[in-house]
């Protein structure tokens, strides 16, 4: 057991409800800061594929992909390789940021569209 795992176990004993294993770097994949494979716990294609797309939209990212090594394990690996101008971790943060912005954008446009009300509407009494 590595020292960091031991430290995390101590945290668990203090009843801190932070999931410390949510994001980890797969051992041996970060040879230099420009490349890393991140392991995301409890994530699947929902996040993996969309995140891969936003990562690839970043011009500083040379390579981005995701895989689910085994279907019985709720884990997603995201591989990032970047140019020298940034780091894999930075690219990851930016990728998450971009996707989050995109989601807010969709929420906004959705709400605007709902407010406009230019669609076929059912006049039936409301269920609630």
């Amino acid at each position: 057991m590595s020292a960091s795992t031991a430290a995390r176990m101590d945290l668990d004993e203090d009843q801190i409800s932070i999931d410390n294993e949510k994001v980890t770097i797969v051992e041996g994949t970060m040879i230099e800061p420009q490349c890393a494979t991140f392991c995301l716990k409890d994530e699947d294609h929902t996040l993996g594929n969309a995140l891969r797309w936003t990562l690839m939209k970043n011009p500083e990212v040379d390579f981005a992909s995701y895989s689910i090594p085994h279907p019985s394990e709720a884990k997603t690996n995201v591989r990032i390789q970047t140019s020298d101008n940034t780091t894999a971790a930075e690219a990851m943060v930016k990728g998450l940021d971009d996707l989050s912005d995109l989601c807010s954008h969709v929420i906004q446009t959705f709400q605007m569209e709902l407010a406009k009300g230019e669609f076929e509407y059912d006049e039936e009494e409301n269920a609630f």
Partner: protein
């Protein structure tokens, strides 16, 4: 940023009904549209019966059969944000903060006058309307009062008495928590991108007609060369809910849930790798 090429994703709602909504999502990648679809199906929390304590059951159905049927009944969940997940709650088993109790007690008495009259229907249909909830915001969905959801049929002399505990959950754990009955998702109705390979007997065009969504796109000219760089960018989505919440709510919640996931990851990343990157001198 490239993600917002052509002004970013656009949403256009085509129809909005009590329990279904059609909309078109444009200017975004397939992965984003698919993420929205997947979250709507499996990660929007709702309420569903998760525990059943049976006191009396002399019906023809077994306890576990009835418990399963109760679990599948959709419950109104528009107020689900107020309720906690039981696993996050401080209580030991369940409490009003993380659950809603529903009770069911039906006893069919024997009417000796009618007992031998075959013209009288003595079957008592126990339906979702017989469930008595402890919280008015969480009750069985009952759009059609004339045809409520049937739980069990009973004969005179039988009795059923039980207590259900409805909990908050997501369909990733069990499909009973899914807010939707179906999400239809279509792009490229003319199969311009050749993502679909149709099984045919003789003629593809004859056997596979185009969908209604094709009206919004230009037909493929059979002489035009195949554009292998083309990417889908228009997604026709229809959401049909179980009635537990409004369809537009499902879609909006789905996007918010996506953001929450991303936000959670960002916090973890910041905590975990700040030192790592600093060590490397960045």
């Amino acid at each position: 940023m490239d993600i917002y090429s052509n002004g970013g994703p656009e949403v256009s709602i085509r129809s909005l009904k009590k329990d279904s909504m059609k909309f078109v999502l444009t200017n975004t990648d397939l992965s984003v549209a698919n993420a929205l679809r997947r979250v709507m199906i499996a990660e929007v929390p709702t309420m569903a019966i998760d525990m059943v304590e049976i006191e009396t059951n002399s019906t023809v159905l077994t306890d576990e059969f009835i418990a399963h049927r109760l679990g599948m009944i959709p419950l109104t969940s528009f107020d689900v944000d107020r309720i906690q997940y039981t696993r996050d709650c401080t209580c030991t088993l369940y409490c009003p903060n993380c659950s809603v109790e529903l009770t069911l007690h039906v006893k069919v008495n024997v009417d000796y006058d009618d007992m031998n009259d075959p013209t009288i229907d003595k079957t008592r249909q126990v339906t979702a309307l017989d469930l008595i909830t402890s919280d008015e915001s969480v009750k069985p969905v009952s759009d059609d009062k004339a045809h409520p959801i049937l739980i069990v049929k009973m004969r005179p002399g039988q009795e059923i008495k039980l207590k259900c505990v409805a909990k908050k959950g997501v369909a990733k754990e069990h499909a009973k928590w899914s807010p939707v009955y179906g999400v239809s998702f279509e792009y490229d109705p003319y199969n311009r991108l050749r993502h679909s390979h149709y099984w045919i007997e003789e003629d593809e065009k004859l056997e596979w007609g185009v969908s209604a969504n094709a009206a919004e796109e230009t037909p493929v000219d059979p002489n035009e060369p195949f554009d292998y760089n083309a990417k889908p960018d228009k997604y026709y989505i229809e959401v049909e809910t179980s009635g537990c919440m409004k369809p537009e709510e499902v879609a909006l919640r789905a996007m918010t849930i996506m953001q929450d996931k991303l936000g959670g990851l960002q916090i973890k990343l910041d905590d975990e790798f700040k030192e790592d990157t600093q060590r490397w001198g960045y």
